[in-house]
């Protein structure tokens, strides 16, 4: 299978008998969380994790240190997830232009004088000590909760671009969406996320 070539390294060495179980114990949770964040479905995430471990077995490599091992497994998992997206984008569209359409409009003056300006009470607030917040683990829990509220297609687009760091072109190619739709979805997702974090984190003046 072509995806397994990613698992194969320079010198294939058979893993020790206890390795498969150890891999699952050491990295199963992390891989599952990684997959769940992206696939949003427990069953699909479990399948992706299983396929990752099976591909890793076939690749047959040993690593010095758990962290190199984890990175390697995550690399395989990422490719499995990308394969899933490619296939899914042929069957269903990843475009969602409904999300936050109305909410976005409602933050601005709709007509008359000052049309298009921020409605006074709905403008962005000052974030106190924002840099410090982003160093705190709890902040990223709040961020995770906020992105969890994004609808599935928007979340997929957002995560690929913002968290995984794919370029706009790469996201479009992977998900079979147009660039202009991508930009609209990202704009609205970013707006919704900023608003959610302001309401749920920065408003509490942490």
């Amino acid at each position: 299978m072509e995806a397994d070539s990613e698992a194969r390294q320079e010198k294939p060495i058979s893993p020790a008998l206890s390795d498969p179980e150890r891999w699952v114990e050491d990295h199963g949770d992390y891989l599952f969380k990684f997959a769940l964040l992206r696939l949003r479905d427990q069953g699909k995430a479990e399948d992706a994790v299983q396929e990752t471990f099976l591909a890793a077995l076939r690749g047959g490599t040993s690593f010095a240190g758990k962290s190199a091992e984890k990175s390697w497994l995550v690399g395989i998992l990422k490719n499995k997830i990308f394969d899933y997206y490619r296939k899914a984008s042929r069957e269903t569209t990843f475009t969602d232009l409904q999300f936050y359409d109305e909410e976005e409009q409602e933050r601005f003056v709709s007509n008359g004088i000052g049309q298009g300006g921020w409605i006074h009470e709905l403008g962005p607030r000052e974030w106190q000590r924002a840099g410090e917040s982003l160093d705190q683990e709890q902040f990223w829990h709040a961020y995770r909760n906020c992105t969890g509220k994004l609808p599935e297609k928007v979340a997929t687009v957002f995560n690929l671009r913002e968290v995984d760091g794919l370029t706009g072109k790469e996201v479009c190619e992977l998900l079979n969406i147009t660039e202009s739709n991508l930009w609209v979805m990202l704009h609205r997702a970013r707006m919704a996320l900023r608003q959610c974090l302001e309401a749920n984190w920065f408003a509490n003046n942490r």
Binding site: F32, L54, W118, E162
Partner: protein, 97 residues
């Protein structure tokens, strides 16, 4: 004549975006370049609009930091691999040795 009037009209619109347009432009700039005239218009708007300046700062902060916290975000996912799935995967791996 009409052609030039329209050109001037759209140039003027690009040079004086409202907040809604400025917010959208700031987001798009994270993903792709904008024509010079739109960038100039945005800069001018940001000179005078504290809200949009704030928005842009916050947008950039979240955008820049998200990809640096991939691991933290993953770990922050509350769910874990169920023990049933764990055992199933181990069994599958044994079968495939």
């Amino acid at each position: 004549m009409k052609f030039w009037l329209n050109k001037i009209k759209s140039a003027w619109a690009a040079l004086s975006p409202n907040c809604r347009e400025a917010v959208r432009a700031q987001s798009e700039l994270l993903d792709h370049p904008l024509p010079l005239i739109n960038r100039i218009g945005l800069r001018i708007h940001l000179l005078f609009c504290v809200w949009c300046r704030r928005y842009g700062k916050q947008l950039h902060l979240l955008h820049d930091q998200a990809c640096k916290h991939e691991e933290t975000l993953t770990v922050a996912t509350p769910q874990k691999l169920s023990s049933e799935a764990r055992e199933r995967i181990k069994r599958k791996m044994q079968e495939n040795k």
